[in-house]
């Protein structure tokens, strides 16, 4: 590895240099970094009770198998990372409503999240959560495949190895942290006690850094190892014919292998089967329709019975502290536009031109549901207040507390013809749990910004931002 990573343009190094030098120094010919005495002393002081190399007996462990899992993660994790970052942008960081809101230099490029295609957020969030879950068996298999290294002695023979081990701590800690917080969040279990958004965002930054470095350091090894065996041959090799990989320098191949209880083909099928199982039990919460009931163990695989309002609720009226008094005949929508203030009751809103659109509502937990909404286009409400070129709209809910009792919409999210102040859904009045008397529904807008129990809308033109 070291020779391929020499700085470009450098002449061949003078003096003796061990080509095997580097992190993957073979155990049988140890070479130590500075100070050699320290590393040698560490090597000689093996803690009693530490698992010996002969205790690792699976004949399947080896650079090839590890590299197969690595290649799958290398192909898929960037998609999980990218969709996750896109979802942050979808929350509208320019209005300070993406969490964590102040991330310093770690902020992402800001652009107006599009409203088209209307399933954009459904896709990015569904992919982020769905693919993230599907990759968990692969992550666990990858960790299983390299676990002997964790217990190998000495832990390091140079400063380089110490640093690389520390970076692996960030890599493994980072991905397990992201998995743990993500898996808990989609099940509304906040046992971790810190803000999910803060933890998941900064955890991602730590993981991404460690991941990029790990890929940079290990990519040549991965490519070489993948080429060491033929996948096609492995897929044809039965358990009886399964032999360990040739002895490696990295300490993955067992020195004392047991007979195979599973072929490599079987191991890949087992991990793939685990991923498939998770996929089958997850996809329904995003795809919806008849597949929804297959999400047997997820909150959003459940039925809400029959009827126009029988679809997934995100935050009940009770939890939001919404009372019948708030939503009764005394309710008025207040529209602000500069100094102008207009108040409209529900009858007046229903008397305006009604527009119907079939739009998905998608949430950060990866689930979505598509319904047919009817209401007043937001741009017509803006026009009513004589705002023809709105810059943004600040929506407030009747809800007093709660992180999402208000939201700011961008220009395109007001002007889209399907952007609605919805009054009805599937031909019936909204139920109070779905935001009666009126709620926002905008194509491709994150579900939590489709504010329910709308109390006021403030349209802002340029200069009022």
């Amino acid at each position: 590895m070291s020779s391929t990573m020499s700085p470009p343009g450098e002449s061949p190094p003078p003096g003796p240099i061990d080509p095997a030098e580097g992190v993957e120094t073979p155990a049988e010919q140890p070479s130590y970094g500075f100070p050699a005495g320290l590393w040698r002393a560490i090597e000689q002081h093996r803690p009693p009770g530490l698992v010996g190399t002969r205790a690792w007996r699976s004949p399947l462990r080896g650079p090839w198998l590890t590299s197969v899992f690595g290649a799958v993660l290398l192909a898929a994790l960037p998609l999980v990372i990218l969709t996750g970052l896109l979802d942050y942008i979808a929350y509208g960081p320019q209005f300070g409503q993406a969490f964590p809101s102040n991330v310093g230099w770690l902020h992402l490029p800001i652009f107006d999240w599009p409203t088209r295609p209307s399933w954009l957020f459904r896709l990015t969030e569904g992919l982020h959560v769905g693919l993230g879950l599907v990759l968990i068996p692969v992550v666990l298999a990858k960790l299983w495949s390299v676990v002997p290294k964790l217990f190998s002695w000495p832990p390091a023979r140079s400063v380089a190895q110490v640093l690389e081990r520390l970076s692996l701590l960030l890599l493994v800690g980072g991905i397990l942290f992201e998995i743990a917080t993500g898996v808990l969040n989609i099940q509304y279990d906040y046992i971790f006690g810190f803000s999910f958004y803060t933890g998941h965002y900064y955890g991602a930054m730590v993981f991404i850094g460690a991941f990029v470095v790990h890929v940079g350091l290990k990519l040549p090894t991965m490519i070489k190892s993948l080429g060491s065996r033929s996948l096609r041959t492995e897929l044809r090799t039965s358990r009886a014919d399964t032999q360990p990989e040739p002895a490696d320098t990295g300490g993955l191949v067992p020195t004392n292998p047991a007979p195979a209880t599973l072929s490599r083909r079987g191991a890949l099928a087992l991990v793939g089967g685990g991923s498939l199982l998770v996929a089958v039990l997850t996809a329904g919460q995003t795809i919806g329709g008849i597949t929804r009931s297959t999400a047997l163990l997820l909150p959003r695989g459940r039925s809400y019975g029959d009827g126009p309002n029988a679809f997934q609720i995100n935050r009940t009226a009770t939890a939001a502290g919404i009372t019948t008094h708030d939503t009764g005949t005394g309710w008025r929508l207040t529209v602000h536009a500069g100094p102008r203030v207009i108040q409209l009751n529900r009858t007046q809103l229903l008397a305006m031109r009604q527009h119907t659109a079939t739009l998905p509502i998608a949430c950060v937990e990866g689930w979505s549901t598509t319904q047919t909404w009817t209401g007043v286009p937001l741009r017509e409400l803006a026009a009513l207040a004589s705002v023809f070129d709105p810059h943004s709209a600040h929506i407030r809910s009747l809800e007093q507390a709660g992180a999402f009792n208000q939201a700011v919409l961008q220009r395109n999210q007001i002007l889209d013809p399907d952007a609605l102040l919805a009054l009805r859904v599937n031909g019936a009045d909204l139920s109070v749990d779905h935001g009666y008397p009126a709620r926002i529904i905008v194509p491709a807008l994150p579900g939590v910004h489709c504010t329910k129990w709308v109390e006021s809308i403030e349209f802002r033109s340029d200069g009022h931002a």
Binding site: E164, D189, Y190
Partner: protein, 282 residues
């Protein structure tokens, strides 16, 4: 001009680029730490990061590795009657796979299954977590049941040649005899069959025919690896004096056979196997 880089690289233990990449990685982590340090809950984030690594490396991994070793150990000490039924499909993976499936689902969907976070769950969805434990148990039951079904089919398929041989020999085998094992010849046909009372073998000296010799009439059996034959020495006066059986491999036939010869001797009286003289009882 002397280039110090190689010497530095050697002292460090890797290429300088390695160092630069890692320093960049740690600097990023350091920056994240400075962003978080004012957060009153930062300590929880750090604890969860550490717990994630410890939880996997020092709890989850040892736990499933130990469970797997225990499973293998239990299967090894199963009653020998389970194992002597030839051919046996190893049950290990038929237990491992559904157990892994159930474990994976438990790990991922634990909050719902143990009803953790009831209040936030109810606020968000308007529902309770009541169904999940039952659903997980049913999924677990389904995975084990499917595995059992596949195991039954595989065992039946693997046992088909065995049963065909037993069927063929049924007229010879007495009702109280229990078939223990079969050994095969290079032409894939059965060459020998062991029951609790007798050794049956295909005698093809003239025309192929199955013959029976009771363990009580056998002095010894021996495997000759050079000719791939099993030599049977009968006791004097036995219906079969000696026989040579061609087989690909003796399998567990020798072990089981010797055990049965000895058991029969104990029942019928002691005998010196080397001398092969008739025992008082026979």
């Amino acid at each position: 001009m002397h280039n110090p880089l190689p010497r530095l690289g050697r002292a460090y233990g890797a290429n300088p680029l390695h160092l630069l990449a890692l320093v960049a990685c740690f600097a990023l982590t350091g920056y994240v730490a400075t962003r978080l340090v004012s957060d009153p809950l930062v300590i929880r984030i750090v604890i969860w990061l550490a717990a994630a690594v410890i939880g996997h490396d020092l709890v989850l991994f040892p736990l499933y590795a130990w469970a797997d070793r225990s499973l293998k150990a239990v299967l090894r000490i199963l009653p020998s009657t389970w194992r002597n039924q030839t051919p046996v499909v190893p049950p290990l993976n038929y237990l491992r796979i559904p157990a892994l499936g159930a474990g994976l689902l438990l790990l991922l969907f634990l909050p719902g299954i143990i009803q953790q976070g009831q209040q936030t769950y109810q606020s968000a969805t308007g529902q309770t977590q009541q169904p999940y434990l039952g659903r997980w148990l049913l999924l677990t039951a389904a995975m084990f049941a499917i595995s059992a079904g596949v195991y039954a089919i595989q065992s039946r398929r693997a046992g088909a040649p065995f049963r065909a041989v037993v069927r063929q020999l049924r007229p010879l085998i007495k009702p109280h005899e229990r078939v223990i094992t079969i050994a095969y010849r290079s032409d894939q046909h059965a060459g020998a069959l062991l029951t609790t009372y007798a050794l049956y073998f295909l005698d093809d000296e003239d025309s192929p025919a199955w013959r029976r010799i009771s363990w009580a009439d056998i002095a010894n059996i021996q495997w000759h690896p050079d000719t791939d034959t099993l030599a049977v020495a009968g006791l004097p006066g036995a219906p079969v004096d000696h026989a040579t059986i061609r087989l690909t491999a003796p399998g567990n036939l020798l072990e089981v056979g010797h055990g049965l010869i000895n058991t029969t001797r104990i029942v019928t009286g002691p005998v010196d196997l080397e001398a092969t003289h008739p025992s008082p009882g026979s």
